[in-house]
């Protein structure tokens, strides 16, 4: 697996992602500075978490319009896998690579905690190591993670099996009590139509080492490492 991690001014979870990739694949990822004009020849691009450009305009809005994201979009169209986590998910929605938007959390507060999710689809390059319905615990750390799209879009996402993770209660039941940020239909992570781009708010990278209190996130990176060798 050859992976590149995009770094914008204000990106801050690039270390966490790179370590998770290395734990799963044994290979080091390359950091790509947003100002670098050419993307390296890789088979996975990660847009990590943080506050790109301070998120001062709207989360991910500035980064979404940056030249490097135009290049990422072209690579994605050519079939390269793209993973956007947290601010990365916000950026991918801003570029139009994924539908919907991330609004402010329903309780209007930043929230950092270990969230329980269920895996809704494992027929993806990102989640093949999990079972459908499997309960996983990934940390969340965001202020704008409240996923919103119109009903037609949500119906389509569900109908096409493009919802990969949903927020659940601690028993793994998808319900209102487990919906930590008010997301439509408890959506925590979705795929694009071609199923090679995944955006998600929770941080699987922070659950890849027993010392972090759990390793549920390793499955995601191992799924990628498996398919990308």
């Amino acid at each position: 697996m050859r992976a590149a991690v995009i770094v914008f001014p204000g990106t801050n979870r690039e270390k966490d992602i790179a370590e998770a990739l290395e734990r799963a694949s044994g290979k080091k990822a390359r950091f790509v500075w947003h100002g670098d004009s050419d993307l390296p020849d890789v088979d996975l691009i990660v847009v990590p978490g943080g506050f790109s450009y301070g998120d001062y305009l709207r989360c991910g809005a500035m980064a979404g319009n940056s030249p490097v994201m135009r290049a990422v979009k072209q690579k994605a169209e050519a079939g390269v896998r793209v993973l956007g986590v947290c601010n990365g998910f916000q950026i991918l929605t801003e570029t139009g690579m994924l539908p919907g938007v991330l609004m402010r959390n329903a309780q209007l507060k930043f929230i950092c905690k270990k969230a329980t999710l269920t895996v809704t689809s494992n027929e993806t390059d990102f989640s093949s190591a999990y079972a459908v319905g499997q309960k996983v615990v990934f940390p969340v750390a965001h202020n704008e993670g409240n996923y919103f799209a119109d009903d037609a879009t949500l119906d389509r996402l569900e109908g096409e099996g493009r919802v990969v993770f949903r927020y659940a209660d601690t028993d793994g039941t998808v319900n209102e009590a487990g919906n930590i940020n008010g997301s439509q239909r408890n959506i925590a992570g979705i795929l694009n139509e071609k199923r090679n781009v995944l955006g998600m708010m929770p941080h699987p990278e922070n659950a890849t080492d027993p010392a972090q209190g759990g390793t549920d996130g390793l499955g995601l990176f191992k799924s990628l490492a498996e398919v990308l060798q």
Binding site: P9, G10, N12, R13, K15, D16, E19, A20, G35, G50, F51, Y53, G54, D55, Y56, K109, F110, I111, C112, K113, P139, A141, N143, H203, E205, N206, T208, D209, A211, Q212
Partner: protein, 735 residues
């Protein structure tokens, strides 16, 4: 030079006494101009000069084989082995946070982060110690909400985990909240950066944000009492930009990986003035600044404003000659301002020029050395009587008391706060908030740092010396309870008006207690901050000497946590329990009395008991460990049970003490541990003379304190978790 006429009124507005102004005249040999007066004003403010506290701060122990850099630099530095160092400091942002809670707290975090990365360290943990007024006070909820959002807003964005903290509520803070922020950083011990300027002709470089008019006279504001006109001081509060600070952090660390920097100093309180004066003074050199070259945010700024602005996210550096272009390229990559604004000179003076005209010329040495130092008169705090637990009326069921205590503002869960802080970023957080100390791993190693902040202000009010000892001892104990060897501390002295002998007596007492504890526990002071004049309309805060500590775990796989791990394990109590109820949470929350002498701190016992606990953890003999402090044994057991979601039954106890005093007394130097090898624990404890008793077993879904007094964990959890969210949402009036 400017034509502003010096008048006694103008001098007084700048916070200088007549006597201090006379010293200014003798240093200058002439009348200062307005810019120079402003410089003296901020350099000699309490905040920058420590004029009331310096005499006593010098009595604190500051040395030890682990100390690489003690007080006097931007932050303290301690050796953690393998060529690595921990760099840390705590700093207050009390006055700004009361006026403008979000920005006040946010810039407090920003300031302490800069102090740490200025030294060449990457920040790896943030902590905070907060004090607010009575929950029923109209302003309290607004302050809690704003301060927490500000701390989170800054720390979350810059990407440093906020891992630990403490919060108290007390009416004494109604008019002055306390916001103390601490940062711990990691550096290579052979690549620490200092502020001492050197190399005549070397360029003086300004990097970071542009300078605006924000925060002018912030340091002076922080050196005076509040009045009902405090709201008018809002423009003196700075505005934080964590995004720019993130860029500044990365750019500085990138430049620090080269050898281009001679010295570096962040622009915090008193901005360009204190940074340039400090660099020149430490190097015994002069500095010339061409103020017109300073990157400015607005038009029409004057030299006076430029020298006094406290705009955030700025640094001053001296570079090696010829390295400007290399440095400029790094800062331009990070889209930050970079300007050569002066040079190091032989004059020994701070020379300020404005489009070729001299607008200030002050000899640095006298400016620093003649800064006032007062040995202010002080009165010792009268001793309080001990309270005999047998004299207290019956308080009813133990578990009812426990439930009431756990749901009180000071003792309830702080989850509502710390879930707003990203405490997991960097992926190295091994103990999250809610334990004794936070633990963060050193990347790519078995090592980890434990860190915590502690103070018990009600003890300090009743007996400043015992309170000072206790703050140091509790901080030390909290790290010990994780298995970390405490290395050194940083202190934040928050007190009222030092010109009142009673307040100065509190300060002196606290220092004496801290000094004794730091010495006996081999826990030297390596950095610190003083915040005085925390008074409004003559009412002072409780004396609050906050202690921040850093300790080292050589092997984090041996780390202890407070959660019960399994059913059927033996619970042991280490240390002596006399049932000390004076100044206890029990006495205050259940009997409504804030009275009596606080628990005495036997430092020899602390050292002995702590050494035993470290040994037990290192040998793998305990499965959980928790220090006992506020609320005593019952609260400690409840916290361990809730964290592990496993109940416990207390079967035996020292029956000489009344039950409530045994369970809620706050005797010091105590720990609760669980073990599957109780005999081995008892044996080791007896060998080193540490009192030990088996008090019960883990198991079940309830906490049973006596055979007929039980409470379910579910009820306890609700009591513990519900108060703060309900209070903050306004659903429930306090109390």
């Amino acid at each position: 030079m400017s034509g502003v006429k010096m008048t006694p009124e103008l001098v007084a507005e700048h916070g200088l006494t007549g006597e201090e102004y006379d010293t200014v005249l003798s240093i200058m040999g002439r009348e200062p101009n307005i810019t120079e007066l402003g410089i003296f004003s901020v350099m000699w403010s309490e905040h920058c000069s420590y004029k009331s506290s310096r005499f006593w701060l010098k009595t604190l122990p500051t040395t030890g084989p682990q100390v690489i850099q003690g007080p006097g630099e931007n932050a303290g530095v301690v050796d953690i082995g393998d060529g690595q160092a921990a760099v840390f400091k705590i700093e207050s942002h009390n006055h700004p946070s009361y006026i403008e809670p979000y920005q006040g707290a946010a810039t407090g975090v920003g300031g302490i982060l800069r102090d740490v990365f200025t030294m060449g360290a990457r920040p790896i943990a943030n902590l905070n110690a907060l004090r607010f007024g009575d929950p029923n006070n109209a302003k309290t909820r607004h302050l809690v909400d704003g301060v927490v959002a500000g701390i989170g807003g800054y720390g979350n964005c810059i990407g440093v985990p906020t891992v630990a903290g403490e919060v108290n509520f007390h009416p004494a803070y109604n008019g002055n909240c306390l916001v103390n922020a601490m940062t711990v950083g990691l550096a290579d011990s052979d690549n620490i950066f200092y502020s001492k300027a050197s190399g005549i002709g070397n360029p003086v470089v300004y990097v970071g944000s542009k300078t605006g008019r924000d925060g002018i006279h912030g340091a002076t504001m922080a050196s005076a009492e509040f009045s009902d006109q405090t709201e008018e001081k809002r423009p003196t509060v700075q505005v934080g930009d964590p995004f720019t600070e993130k860029l500044l952090l990365e750019a500085c660390l990138e430049l620090m990986s080269t050898d281009a920097i001679v010295s570096i100093q962040d622009m915090g309180a008193a901005g360009l003035t204190s940074s340039s004066v400090e660099m020149a003074d430490k190097g015994g050199v002069g500095i010339r600044l061409d103020l017109d070259k300073v990157p400015m945010r607005e038009e029409g700024m004057t030299p006076y404003e430029l020298m006094l602005s406290e705009s955030q996210e700025r640094m001053l550096m001296v570079l090696k000659p010829g390295r400007e272009d290399e440095a400029r390229a790094i800062f331009e990559k990070w889209e930050l301002d970079f300007a050569v604004i002066g040079e190091v000179t032989t004059s020994g003076n701070l020379e300020l020029s404005w489009y070729g005209e001299t607008v200030g010329d002050i000899p640095v040495k006298p400016l620093v050395e003649a800064s006032p130092m007062y040995e202010r008169p002080w009165e010792p705090t009268p001793a309080q009587a001990e309270i005999d637990p047998a004299s207290l009326p019956d308080a009813g069921k133990l578990t009812n008391c426990l439930k009431d205590i756990l749901s009180s503002p000071d003792m309830c869960s702080r989850r509502w706060i710390w879930e707003q802080y990203d405490h997991l970023i960097r992926g190295e957080t091994l103990q999250v908030p809610g334990g004794d100390a936070a633990v963060v791993r050193i990347p790519d190693s078995l090592k980890a740092l434990a860190t915590t902040v502690d103070c018990t202000p009600r003890y300090c009010l009743a007996d400043p010396e015992q309170g000072g000892r206790q703050a140091v001892a509790e901080c030390w104990r909290n790290m010990v309870a994780t298995g970390a060897k405490p290395l050194a501390l940083t202190n934040n002295m928050n007190f009222g008006n030092p010109e009142r002998p009673k307040i100065m007596g509190q300060f002196v007492g606290a220092i004496k207690g801290m000094a004794a504890a730091a010495k006996t526990l081999d826990f030297p002071v390596v950095s610190g901050n003083v915040s005085l004049y925390n008074e409004t309309e003559g009412k002072a805060i409780l004396p609050t000497p906050v202690i921040g500590g850093v300790g080292l775990l050589k092997d984090h796989t041996k780390m202890a946590t407070l959660a019960f791990k399994a059913e059927g394990e033996t619970i042991l109590l280490l240390g002596e329990s006399k049932g000390w109820v004076g100044q206890s949470i029990f006495l205050r929350e259940i009997h409504g009395r804030e009275e009596g002498a606080p628990p005495p701190v036997d430092l020899e016992a602390e050292a002995r008991n702590g050494a035993l606990v470290l040994d037990l953890i290192d040998k793998g003999l305990v499965t959980a460990c928790h220090d006992l402090s506020d609320g005593g044994l019952a609260v400690g057991l409840a916290e361990m049970a809730l964290a592990g979601d496993i109940g416990a039954t207390v079967a035996e106890r020292n029956d000489e003490t009344p039950a409530h005093a045994f369970f809620f007394g706050e005797d010091q130097a105590r720990y609760v541990v669980t073990s599957t090898q109780a005999d081995a624990v008892m044996h080791l404890a007896e060998q080193v003379g540490v009192p030990v008793q088996v008090i019960g077993r883990t198991g079940g879904e309830a906490l049973t304190l006596t055979s007929e007094d039980t409470i379910s964990l579910e009820l306890l959890r609700h009591a513990h978790e519900d108060w703060l969210p309900a209070y903050m949402s306004g659903e429930e009036a306090a109390e």
